[in-house]
Symmetry: C2
Subunit: 373 residues, 2 copies
Amino acid sequence: MIQFRILAQDAETAARVCEIETPHGLLRTPAFMPCATQATVKTLTPVHLEELGVQMLLCNAYHLSLRPGAELVAQMGGLHRFMSWPRPILTDSGGFQIFSMAGLRTVTEGGVVFRSHLDGREIFLTPERSMEMQSQLGADIIMVLDECPAFPAEKAMARAAMERTLGWAVRCRAAHRREDQALFGIVQGSTYPDLRAECADRLTALEFPGYGIGGLSVGEGPDLMQEMIACTVERLPADRPRYLMGVGRPEDIVATVAHGVDLFDCVMPTRCGRNGLAFTSRGRVKIRNVAARAVGRPLDPACDCLACRRFSRAYLRHLVTASEVLGLTLMSLHNVRYYMRFMENMRQSILDKRFREFVEAQKEIPVEEREAD
Amino acid sequence: MIQFRILAQDAETAARVCEIETPHGLLRTPAFMPCATQATVKTLTPVHLEELGVQMLLCNAYHLSLRPGAELVAQMGGLHRFMSWPRPILTDSGGFQIFSMAGLRTVTEGGVVFRSHLDGREIFLTPERSMEMQSQLGADIIMVLDECPAFPAEKAMARAAMERTLGWAVRCRAAHRREDQALFGIVQGSTYPDLRAECADRLTALEFPGYGIGGLSVGEGPDLMQEMIACTVERLPADRPRYLMGVGRPEDIVATVAHGVDLFDCVMPTRCGRNGLAFTSRGRVKIRNVAARAVGRPLDPACDCLACRRFSRAYLRHLVTASEVLGLTLMSLHNVRYYMRFMENMRQSILDKRFREFVEAQKEIPVEEREAD
């Protein structure tokens, strides 16, 4: 189980600093969880992650149940031991992957039949089976199985998915066994404020120890996304953590924190890193660009990561253009550190009562680093 | 320039422990240099390499001259700074790559015309240009340009290549400018003992500060290779380091050390690691094998590397079968540590006057780990 404490509350917005105590230690929010989809944050060792200040990881029950299998992970002592990560872990139920990655699927009240994206094998996933898998994986926070409608969704479709999600939440709660794991509900409702509000209210009545906000960042755009977050969060209890699933860009996160959201996850820092895009204090840098060819400066002089402490842009560009794995590692490492420092600074600004300044300063960072810099 | 000191000499064989002092620090031999072909030991950071006990790296002038270019590396402060490796580096002249990887080539007394394996561009490499490139890269030990005949080679061909190698060695010596770089000659002569002896004698007369033994491990087999090494080394001066280029398996290295060879390099630990093959104190392990599926033990209980300290075989197998980069990193890291410990133990056995025991103990290690283990 988790303990949740609010340490500071911004005076002008709903932004807050909280502490979540889990069986694998404390974390401070607002917090960003890098994705360890297949029980590894792609290209990084757990030693790197500890040094980068990562507090908590997200793993995917969907991917891990297909390979290597949740039973095997349980046999190996659970996820923390399997991947040698001593700090907190959250597992996603697999809902999002089933609705975005899997092949042909059929959803019924009972559950969802889908085909594995790996071998086409047919799998029947029910709320009870999702709980069993997540119990085998052994994360500190686990999520209910939900139905994540695509965007745009007709209102009738959105309501049906919301009703199914609520029904599954009840069944997940009933099937939940391990007291050391905190089970979070998930708010759906597509882009309909009334559905979001209704879903949040009905989930709140079920008294989950925390709440996910799902079904966003699927093409609705940042304005509509923030609107949905606002109308969802205002219905959720203040004394429970709130987790925006699968988001996102630093600018999305800072706006969402202002609505009172505590937890985030996204593949962005690692995926962008592997694609040669670095986040810096002066804007984004495309390391493949010929402009970096003979640049002796690091990616970001304001960064304390290994990539910035020891290597030039010219070297990183060489690694990436020569398809060297070390390029993927150093770029991922840098971006994860950027996100961790971004969250640290945001937490500190709330504690220091200068969150507004932090928000303003973020707006000053250009999207792309300017040539002259 | 380098300083070379013999610290210990085995009583029964020509094995010895020596110290080489370079502008970037000391190393103890017999030493194995992991290959940092493109200015990176594939998948590993320099921090990993320092922790693994790596003393010296080999970089390829051929690869680096094509990408990112030796001029660029010079502009960035030389190889040590470019790749953030503070310890000694050796660069290969590119001879081996030109004769094994490059496309259509024409060899004349002047040099060799070849096509880049990257873009087909025609390049004329001369001994003088090789010296210029290696001077730009700035390694502590640099190699003469040599012609490396394929195996088997007709004797007339082997002699012609040897003569060319000797002629090029004279020109490299004349073109050699940087006093902080030690230029090593290279003995060729294919599998002809008389050519090997003649080449060694004529190179020795040129008084290089060290000698490479080239053109081996190209298909002649371990017995013929050891025979060639023996007849070469006995003609080389005892007070200069000897370097067997591109070799190899631990069993080849231990046999070669007994002939009095000091330096080695090979892609084996890293390439095998990336292919899922681990060297262990109980024999080689293929991590993809289903036998490793649910094994909670590490690769090698006798190993102190990160992969063995923190991960099970089951986890490594999961990473490798899921094509996760961390699998390549951990397997490479383990194999490099295996080689480093192997060399450390070999040096210590010579210092402790029990090299014979070390050799015998090595023979006890089965090629493949036995199932029951």
